[in-house]
């Protein structure tokens, strides 16, 4: 019976590092909301920032995205998707909040 984990594989360390980082980046925002150490606006801004960092951790340690040449097309399509998301999601919120401000306030 071979062991379930190949401890000689250098990628094991990569996955475990990603797991520990993601765990820390999850516990931190949850405790910010539970213990309310910061005022709401600041706390939620930090929560958003930590979410972006954690997404980066997942992309790097679990999806093995990096700046090497072999990953360039993956990275480029991610960057393109990010631009589209910025325009479509950001634009949606900009227009709708502006409309709300003009109609209701």
């Amino acid at each position: 019976m071979r062991s379930l984990i190949d401890t000689h594989d250098p990628r094991l360390r990569v996955y475990l590092t990603g797991f520990v980082l993601a765990l820390a980046l999850t516990i931190l925002p949850f405790s910010l909301v539970v213990f309310k150490v910061l005022p709401e606006t600041w706390a939620l801004a930090v929560v958003g920032g930590l979410a972006v960092v954690q997404m980066g951790v997942h992309l790097h340690y679990f999806l093995h995205l990096n700046l090497s040449a072999s990953e360039r097309s993956n990275l480029l399509s991610l960057a393109f998707a990010a631009v589209i998301i910025f325009m479509m999601a950001g634009g949606t919120m900009w227009i709708m909040f502006n409309l709300h401000y003009r109609m209701m306030a």
Binding site: M1, R2, S3, L4, I5, D6, D9, R11, L12, Y15, L16, G18, F19, A22, L23, T26, P29, F30, L32, V33, V34, K36, E40, A43, L44, V47, G48, L50, A51, Q54, M55, H58, L59, F62, L63, S73, N74, S77, L78, F80, A81, I84, I85, M88, A89, G90, T92, M93, M96, F97
Partner: protein, 204 residues
């Protein structure tokens, strides 16, 4: 390109051609994931617009239980890591370990879906179903779209586990597991957005 137009290939040339095809498929799948990310981002934008439109119905604060959400988050994070261990087992060409870690990933993912169904059932039973307000419509659309993706991933895990059992760790099978891994890790990234945009702000 059909086989008839290809020159006959042998040995390492065939292996290299197969690897190139699998790389291409992984990239194609990556492009699908990026378009899926755009869909999710628009559901997030819709939620952000609708979150205060409660129409006199229940508000986020009274509906969410953070320790419950934390449990769901842990199930998905652990399942993402155990899928990584399945990928390592493929590199070690250890069929038993691949099947074991896929099974663990399935169990954790199924636990997540079960918790989500239980949560939704409780909300609908308490009169906070998707038809109650714009806030709840957008909440159920966003979170359930993610939940349906996870359910699809679960079915996919079962199918590929059977393929591993029947065909072994052949190159086509491992390339499919690789794409399933991209899908599974991607869903955990979307969940990070969901707890950061929906559950944490709603519980402050």
């Amino acid at each position: 390109m059909s086989d008839a137009t290809m020159p006959p290939m042998h040995g390492s040339a065939l292996v290299m051609e197969e690897a190139r095809v699998h790389d291409e498929r992984a990239f194609g799948f990556w492009i699908y994931l990026m378009s899926d990310a755009i869909i999710f981002s628009l559901l997030f934008a819709t939620y952000a617009v609708m979150v205060d439109r409660t129409a006199g119905g229940p508000q986020a604060h009274s509906l969410f239980d953070l320790s419950y959400t934390f449990g769901e988050t842990m199930l998905l994070l652990f399942s993402s890591t155990t899928f990584g261990l399945a990928s390592l087992a493929i590199r070690a060409e250890n069929k038993g370990a691949v099947l074991f870690w896929l099974a663990v990933t399935f169990a954790l993912g199924a636990g997540f879906v079960a918790m989500e169904i239980f949560e939704f059932h409780g909300m609908v039973a308490a009169g906070a179903g998707p038809e109650r307000s714009g806030f709840l419509s957008s909440f159920f659309t966003l979170v359930a779209t993610h939940g349906l993706h996870v359910t699809t991933g679960l079915i996919w895990i079962v199918v590929l586990s059977i393929e591993v059992l029947v065909k072994g760790l052949s190159a086509p099978v491992t390339s499919r597991i690789h794409r399933l891994g991209l899908f599974w890790h991607f869903l955990d990234i979307v969940w990070v957005g969901i707890f950061s945009v929906v559950y944490l702000p709603g519980s402050f």
